[in-house]
Assembly symmetry: C2
Homo-oligomer: 342 residues x 2
């Protein structure tokens, strides 16, 4: 099935100028609404623009302004499952929202494997974007280095593992984990196990560290047998919970490093005949949608995602506007949301 037609070529500034009876410069002034234009000229130009359905050619403009008015959110993550993580959707939403009032475009790039990373690196170095917000979740990722070296304004979403000089915005994962664990201890629990996130992700490590610090600080045991690693999914959380029940039959509290894992744990606990929160208290992390809808509703640690995305865009745009590179680091406070499980 085939039909054909021809593609129109868009009008240029010159054509608009001729039609409006003014010079190219004046049209340009109207387009970029400079104040130094007479009302009559402006009127003539605007009507010519409307008649010709003129749209400025972005390439030509970018060539001289050295700006594209586009920033990229790069997701460097081979595991396609994490791409569909609701957390990621919330980040995208937040960034769009904070860019909504500006005329800056947001594009998403994925870098699943080495080939795609290469492509993203090229894309950025070729000047397609004014800046990059990078979500790189794994510690062995090369892309942060590539982009940093490209000399493009860069803000990481999440703390990098080392102390490299790069701007980032992160949630206070350590503090949140401490808060959650302290809350469990405050409830009188003494056998607090944890379902940890993957060890190759900084957020996972920080949450584990927070749990450990509080337990050892309280003189309680925090050994490896109290830790099971999940993969941030519900199924992974369920598996981890089964291991923990087998290893630590007398556990009375669980700190899960993500809400889906907590939900998986809830399911396993129920199947094992443990009542939540009476027998076992549970705290999750992220305050995902599921935390409100599960039964009983999940006590969890919330990150201020809206603030974080706002911060990211601010940091990035400031870097874009200044010609000097500045490094700023922001850690946003987390807080405990008490619901039914602890």
């Amino acid at each position: 099935m085939t039909e054909t037609g021809t593609r129109p070529s868009s009008p240029t500034l010159d054509e608009v100028a001729v039609r409006a009876g003014v010079s190219r410069a004046t049209v340009s002034r109207v387009i970029n609404d400079s104040p130094r234009v007479s009302p009559e000229a402006r009127e003539a130009v605007l009507s010519a623009v409307a008649q010709l359905r003129y749209v400025p050619n972005r390439m030509a403009r970018s060539l001289v302004t050295r700006r594209t008015d586009t920033v990229a959110l790069v997701l460097s993550e081979p595991d396609t499952r994490l791409f569909s993580d609701p957390f990621f959707a919330r980040i995208v939403r937040g960034l769009s929202a904070s860019l909504a009032q500006t005329d800056i475009n947001l594009v998403l790039l994925t870098a699943g494997d080495a080939g795609e990373q290469e492509k993203v690196g090229r894309f950025v170095r070729q000047g397609h974007v004014d800046g990059v917000i990078l979500m790189s979740l794994h510690s062995d990722d090369l892309l942060p280095d590539v982009l940093a070296e490209a000399g493009v304004p860069l803000v990481l979403c999440g703390r990098p593992l080392d102390d490299r000089p790069v701007s980032y915005v992160d949630a206070d994962n350590l503090g949140g984990a401490r808060m959650a664990t302290e809350h469990l201890l405050g409830l009188g629990r003494r056998r607090v196990v944890t379902i940890a996130g993957r060890a190759d992700m900084v957020a996972g490590r920080d949450r584990l560290t927070g749990w450990r610090e509080v337990l050892t600080g309280a003189g309680l045991e925090a050994g490896a047998e109290l830790v099971a690693e999940g993969d941030f999914t519900e199924a992974g959380g369920a598996r981890a919970m089964e291991q923990l029940l087998a290893r630590v039959p007398d556990l009375d509290a669980v700190f899960a490093a993500s809400d889906p894992m907590a939900v998986g744990a809830l399911r396993v606990l129920r199947a094992a005949g443990r009542r939540v929160p009476e027998d076992v208290a549970v705290v999750g992390f992220d305050d995902a949608d599921v935390a409100q809808t599960c039964d009983p509703p999940l006590t969890t640690v919330a990150q201020p995602l809206a603030d974080m995305t706002q911060e990211m865009t601010e940091l990035l745009l400031r870097q874009v506007d200044q010609t000097t590179e500045t490094v700023e680091r922001r850690v946003c406070p987390t807080h405990l949301v008490r619901r039914g499980t602890a």
Copy 2:
């Protein structure tokens, strides 16, 4: 916390030419590897490129070639939940994969509300991309019109509701639904209910139509009381199943328009004491990951997603290369994957 540095400005073709002792034209020839260059000149240029870490300025190049070597996948969908649908992730993966061997970049744009749609429209008309693949799932979406009018090569992922002259690639939802329903009838089932997708999505409608056609064709009842609408989620599927059990207590088969909904139905059926597949046979749609991991594994209709994304890129790139607009429509065959539930 602040550190500063300066941003380097990239070298130009001229600087490379000077360093290599050749003209700008020759450097350009090497960059675009034209055959008409002597080995010595090529060598000199390549070494100069390496020394200066030269990267072509994309804007300058695009200005003259009128190509950006970038295509956009636009997701026009206000509901953030669908953004994290695994189906979408598979589309992205597939498109990246089929573009991997080319030097064409893929960017994702989201158009959640009217403001974002406006932005996407501008972005495209300004010439940021050579073509667009559009996932527009709701029938009342304006973006298809906006983009079509922009005169940019366009391929829809999924059939549009009306017969407008636009290229698209779709799965044979109708055929798949027919196949699933026929399979259920072939098992001897006669009270086949369906959990339909949302009526404002074409895929949802087509799957419902296929189910209805087969039942009425077999002289069986296919009235409204046998249909419950879900929202493509597991929770929605569970709710729909509860309604159906109440309305049609003697049902012996369920066709669910998506796998998550089928999984929700499975849970409710089990809770109601119905055995699957002995008492009730169940068929899903999409062949999502969950279809393999659920218990019992789900019989479902698979779409050839890899073929579909491949088709989309081919259709799009052909449109980009030809200067004339051609309209092609592709419907890819679906097939039944038999597992444990039917």
